[in-house]
């Protein structure tokens, strides 16, 4: 797939998990014990043979820059192709964007100069191990103008209210588009990944900008679905979509089931992330750990159950951690008890503190807080 350019929108859907994106992009939200959300689309692109990827950012992207570094971990530290970070104000024309089309306009120079024939775009809200090759193949074979990756299934009202819903005919052609509708039940939702030819995309951007149209979903998918040949690619593999802090919690917890983890972490299509050179995890005398994901650099002296524990977390003696997500550097001091807690980086839970929430509303504790 040397002829495909990848584009990742790092800031899209920031608002769906507002607590987690206060100081970072959606793409740099921590996930699954050692990843950030951008690791998934970025690894997927690399594993699909795409070797030129642009990451479009808007604000709060310093942590994203730090995470991506020279892109060596994704094998994108290249002379030809490689990773391009596209922050606002990089060019005289690239100001803060409000919609996806404006964002693409800021990336126009990269798109134009790319030697690619096709462009694959993805947001950072879907956690999956997706091979883009069959999607591009279908796009080419079907003669579509735009291919939208979709999944048809049962969705809750909360999920659909954060999604773009497509109605397709038997041939897979999109007939109508509903944006964030107030529905629930079985429907076909966009997974926010799209394929277009480079030439079509350039024309689309130029035309939309000239007409003052900034939203890809409203002004293109919805408004033009009669006029354009927009087709769905139905995706059936394991995925989680983050539409709220609740679904973020669930997406993490889902990986405690080895059956799910084995569909996400494929030996031949690994998910790459930044290396952090932690020592192995250390389990102390009298600790008790069951049904949990534990990252390197942790020192566990107490109990951990049904939890996702990021790198460098300390769980003290007689501390109890149940149904929690503890991000990097969290310290749970001796005797503390936590349940249904999401701690951001470097949170301190004091000795013998008891913090309990409920499955419906896991409690979020902000970066660096001491409780």
């Amino acid at each position: 797939m040397g002829n495909v350019l990848g584009l990742i929108f790092a800031n899209m859907h920031d608002m769906t998990v507002g607590e987690l994106t206060k100081n970072r992009t959606m793409g740099s939200v921590l996930f699954g014990g050692r990843y950030r959300l951008i690791d998934f689309p970025l690894s997927n692109m690399v594993n699909s043979g795409i070797n030129a990827v642009g990451v479009i950012t808007k604000d709060n992207y310093q942590s994203l820059l730090d995470h991506l570094g020279s892109a060596r971990e994704w094998d994108l530290a290249r002379k030809k192709g490689g990773l391009y970070i596209l922050p606002p104000f990089g060019n005289a024309g690239a100001a803060l964007y409000t919609g996806r089309i404006e964002a693409l306009n800021g990336a126009m120079s990269l798109i134009k100069h790319s030697l690619c024939d096709y462009v694959v775009m993805s947001d950072c809200d879907v956690i999956t191990n997706m091979d883009y090759r069959p999607i591009v193949d279908q796009h080419i074979d079907s003669g579509a103008d735009i291919t939208v990756v979709t999944h048809t299934g049962q969705y809750t009202n909360e999920e659909i209210k954060m999604s773009t819903v497509l109605n397709t005919d038997d041939s897979g052609r999109v007939q109508s588009v509903l944006i964030r509708p107030d529905l629930s039940g079985t429907c076909t939702c966009s997974l926010n990944a799209f394929v277009m030819s480079k030439d079509f995309l350039i024309d689309l951007i130029n035309d939309s900008i000239a007409r003052g149209r900034v939203s890809f979903e409203t002004d293109v998918l919805q408004a033009k679905c009669g006029e354009l040949n927009i087709r769905a690619f139905e995706y059936d593999n394991y995925f989680s979509k983050i539409t709220s802090i609740g679904s973020y919690f669930k997406a993490n917890m889902d990986l405690l089931d080895p059956a799910n983890a084995s569909k996400l972490y494929l030996p031949k299509r690994a998910i790459y992330t930044k290396v952090s050179d932690n020592a192995p995890a250390k389990y102390d005398l009298n600790c008790r750990v069951v049904n949990s994901l534990i990252a390197d650099g942790c020192i566990i002296e107490g109990e951990v159950e049904n939890s996702v524990i990021f790198r460098g977390v300390r769980v003290g003696k007689n501390a109890k951690v149940k149904n929690c997500i503890l991000m990097q550097g969290t310290v749970v001091a001796d005797g503390a008890e936590c349940s249904y807690l999401i701690t951001d980086k470097n949170v301190n839970i004091g000795s013998n503190r008891i913090l309990t929430s409920s499955p419906a509303y896991p409690m979020y504790v902000g970066k660096g807080a001491s409780l």
Binding site: L285, A295, D296
Partner: protein, 400 residues
Amino acid sequence: MFNKKECVAMLLAGGQGSRLYALTQTVAKPAVPFGAKYRIIDFPLSNCINSGIDTVGVLTQYQPLVLNEYIGNGQPWDLDRLHGGVHVLSPYEKASGKDWYSGTANAIYQNIPFIERYDPEYVVVLSGDHIYKMDYNKMLDFHKAKNAAATIAVLDVPKEEASRFGIMITDAEDNIIDFEEKPKNPRSTLASMGIYIFDWKKLKKYLIANEEDANASKDFGKNIIPDMREAGEKLVAYRFDGYWKDVGTIESLWEANMDLINPNIPIDLYDPAWKIYSRNPILPPQAIGHNAEIQNSMVTEGCFIDGSVEFSIISEGVTIEEGAVIYDSILMPGAHIKKGAKVEYAIVGEDSVIGENAQIGARPETIVDKDTWGVAVVGNKLNISDGANVPPKAIIYEDM
């Protein structure tokens, strides 16, 4: 970025490590896995970069493929530099002929052109099979302050162990006045750690002279150091008081691994100021199952553990099924322990599979004749069938 380096490190990665044979059939000893996510060579390489030494030659001629791939461009140790960095140096053919390395001194002699590229004042000579954390820069400061020709790092060992080491006899100023190799009645308890700093100009002179002596064995300990002493060069001992262990045998390799989980042994891998770097595997976090019991162990990424693990070191990508029991053992990367298998006081090599209900090794307290007890070793990429029994002290090279 300067063409000149004050100090260059030469790491003697050594040969086959015949006493570790089951683990080194296709890899050089420094590439043997250690401490769940490391390989032995991570320790001297990390010490180098943490000491500010950014130019390292790794001398090896035995099975360098794995070591070469592992070291790569040195990036995991921050040793990928435009000038300097880490280089694996194998023997090569010169216009004058071709020779394998015939000894530690000869290996460095053959790589004089490599060292001279950096025009160093000092050369640190290190060994590839020691586990320790040491600031070579402090030793270099000591070397400079003493204005020595050579400085040898020494460890004060218990008197009863001294006869296992090369022993340095020093005067009150730490000058080395004599030395003895594994003496029966040691005159001192200062054991050489196999870590040397030399004034490069002087070392070069002695290397060349030693090379011209057809009878010399081309070895640092046997030739270069004695030659320097005889010539009246100033040799000093630098006392090191941290943790240090030679891992050249199965027993010492097992012990050094166990030391990592012994709270009374002072080697801390969690100190952010002196990280031990390694080439990290690309694997998800370790998954601990519903039936797992883990205590007093170190585990790293990509493992799935649903059995019992105590006092053990579990490397990347290991699977321990429900009901399997691992006590006082080392599981190397990719090992797979099936249901009900019991691994006690054992080392299981890379990618080996231990069948259901198999028994590997045994606890010493269960053995009457203590001489028949020892760590059991299953080599790399082997299949041990269901219900098989590998007795203690056994070393397995083939499927069984």
